[in-house]
């Protein structure tokens, strides 16, 4: 017990024995902590916060009216609708895939499970440009399949289906990667209990599994959606960048930027950045509120 606690409050200061502060052995010296925090915050400001601020300040550089007016252009509107449509198809498809893959991997034991997980992660180690190239080769007029589909009126390359497929490719692992660890941790005791009590497989999934994974599913969907709306490389390759037809929001940003339409480019960018910020906020709230129901790496 430190000696100074026993001293009466009225004791003159000079009567206190020199106080030796115990050195905390499991942390760094104060000067080191302060220096590290200052350095890291400076770097993060330069890398993260200033670019974000730049997006909004450039968008509003000619006033709010000019920014809003740039979105009124029919090409811009078409790009926004196309991006929404792409996310609306690609994200639910990948969510369905994620649930199916997680169900298979977490609730069953089979050979080659590790290999299957590696295959699911494959899109993370393939450049989006290469992903776009793969799809272009498969569905383009140069391949037998592509030629057949074009002959029957199904255009994939330089058309909306190609954009959706490319988006699905790059966002493919997001939901599955989020759900697999959560479902593995939950095991299958609860589902087995429901089945024993006579529930059908579908009912077990709906009333037992789904409530258990809903927040993790939402988390995965948020990440998937953010990437889907912002995907650039893969979509740039397969879309053919046909104005008013296959231009998504990120491609529209590139086009406006290259034409020196700064306000238009940054307004579109600000719109996407705002969506990203909403996503980030929702994701952070999930981490704070439902940490116990998310994958272990999000529990702070």
């Amino acid at each position: 017990m430190p000696a100074d606690i026993a001293l009466p409050a009225s004791a003159p200061l000079s009567a206190r024995p020199p106080r030796r502060r115990a050195r905390r052995v499991t942390t760094e010296p104060g000067w080191f902590r302060a220096a590290l925090i200052a350095t890291v915050l400076t770097l993060l400001a330069l890398l993260l916060f200033l670019p974000l601020w730049e997006v909004f300040s450039q968008a509003l550089s000619e006033g709010f009216g000019a920014a809003v007016a740039s979105l009124g252009n029919p090409d811009a509107r078409h790009a926004i609708l196309l991006t929404l449509l792409t996310a609306l198809v690609a994200v639910p498809m990948n969510a369905a895939f994620g649930i199916a893959a997680a169900w298979m991997i977490a609730k069953f034991d089979f050979r080659g499970k590790a290999f299957l997980i590696t295959l699911i992660d494959l899109p993370f180690s393939v450049s989006p440009v290469v992903a776009g190239l793969c799809l272009t080769l498969l569905f383009g007029s140069g391949s037998a399949l592509g030629a057949f589909m074009i002959a029957h009126g199904m255009q994939v390359v330089f058309a909306v289906p190609g954009i959706i497929l490319a988006t699905m490719f790059v966002t493919f692992p997001f939901v599955a990667r989020e759900l697999i660890p959560v479902m593995q941790e939950q095991g299958r005791a609860e589902e087995e209990a429901a089945l024993t009590l006579g529930a059908s497989g579908w009912r077990t999934f709906r009333t037992v599994t789904l409530p258990n994974i809903r927040w993790a599913l939402l988390y995965g969907v948020l990440l998937c959606n953010a990437r889907a709306m912002g995907e650039f490389g893969a979509v740039a390759v397969i879309s053919g960048k046909i104005r008013g037809e296959t231009i998504t929001m990120p491609l529209m940003i590139e086009m406006s930027y290259n034409e020196y339409l700064t306000v238009a480019a940054f307004t579109m960018a600000a719109l996407l950045a705002s969506l990203g910020l909403v996503m980030l906020t929702a994701k952070t709230l999930l981490e704070w509120r439902f940490a116990d129901q998310l994958a272990a790496r999000h529990r702070h």
Binding site: V40, L44, M104, L116, G142
Partner: protein, 279 residues
């Protein structure tokens, strides 16, 4: 049973349906398209492949992409460890905001990041003109490409290492201090080995992301052939010239080098696990 059948018996329903959906979508979206690339590559033949990849322009693009991605991932190894350590161990105002902001590169589309970084770091930009005063150009140089790659691969190391730091038991550090090790020695000899597998995982993820990055780089790169032209951009240029063979060759070279690198990192990881136990 397990030895005989492909999967062990289970009372759970829905294996067939789940496997059906999984394999159908995985094949349609990912595996068959990649197989198409490899099949078309196989038609080209090794001699032609080597001749195409061996040109100076392709080689310098590949070298630039992999070198800068490696340097960016290396920088993020250090910065990521510092950020993760700070978020896990120190208390400072705005800690939760910083924690959330680390994922900004995941939330911000690459094209958005690209034009924002370019205007910011261009010679007349807010930060760029300060560096210009010291005679350092960032945008339209290798430094700019590196910066964009640091941006996109920033969250990976933080997010893999942070939970591991949070799980370290203080007793271990106390034991080390009691035995007379000073803080730096404790960090290097006790803590760092525990973090190595997570650090390597984050490094590999960041590297893979940086190697393939296109959207944020093309704005800031300047895109001069032989100088600031990254490999993914060269693939796009070849495609725009309808030189499909050229694009396929560069893509296959990128895939091959990427997988080789990830293989080496996995190997290092296995070795470090063997040395330090399964931390």
């Amino acid at each position: 049973m397990r030895g005989l059948s492909l999967r062990s018996p289970s009372p759970m329903p829905g294996f067939g349906l789940a496997a059906g959906i999984t394999f159908t979508l995985l094949s349609l979206v990912v595996l068959i398209p990649i197989a198409a690339l490899i099949a078309r590559g196989a038609d080209i033949g090794l001699a032609h492949f080597l001749a195409t990849v061996g040109t100076e322009r392709v080689l310098s693009a590949l070298w630039l992409s992999f070198r800068l991605a490696f340097l960016a991932a290396l920088f993020n190894l250090v910065l990521g460890l510092a950020v993760a350590w700070m978020l896990a161990r120190y208390d400072f105002p705005g800690r939760r905001l910083i924690d959330a902001a680390v994922d900004l590169p995941f939330a911000l589309p690459t094209a958005v990041a690209g034009i924002a970084l370019t205007t910011l770091y261009a010679p007349n930009g807010l930060v760029g003109h300060v560096f210009q005063g010291f005679g350092v150009r960032i945008a339209y140089t290798e430094l700019g490409i590196w910066l964009a790659l640091v941006f996109v691969s920033l969250p990976f190391v933080v997010r893999t290492v942070q939970p591991v730091i949070e799980e370290i038991e203080r007793e271990v550090e106390e034991a080390s201090a009691t035995l007379g090790a000073h803080r730096l020695r404790t960090f290097v000899r006790v803590i760092l080995p525990m973090l190595t597998p997570a650090l390597l995982t984050g490094f590999a993820l960041g590297l893979a992301r940086a190697v393939g990055e296109y959207g944020s780089v093309i704005f800031i790169a300047g895109n001069l052939p032989y100088k600031t032209e990254i490999a993914p951009l060269l693939i796009v240029i070849r495609l725009e010239e309808f030189d499909y063979e050229g694009a396929i060759c560069i893509a296959l070279a990128m895939l091959a080098i990427s997988f080789l690198m990830l293989l080496v990192i996995n190997l290092v990881q296995v070795l470090s696990r063997r040395r330090y136990g399964n931390a």
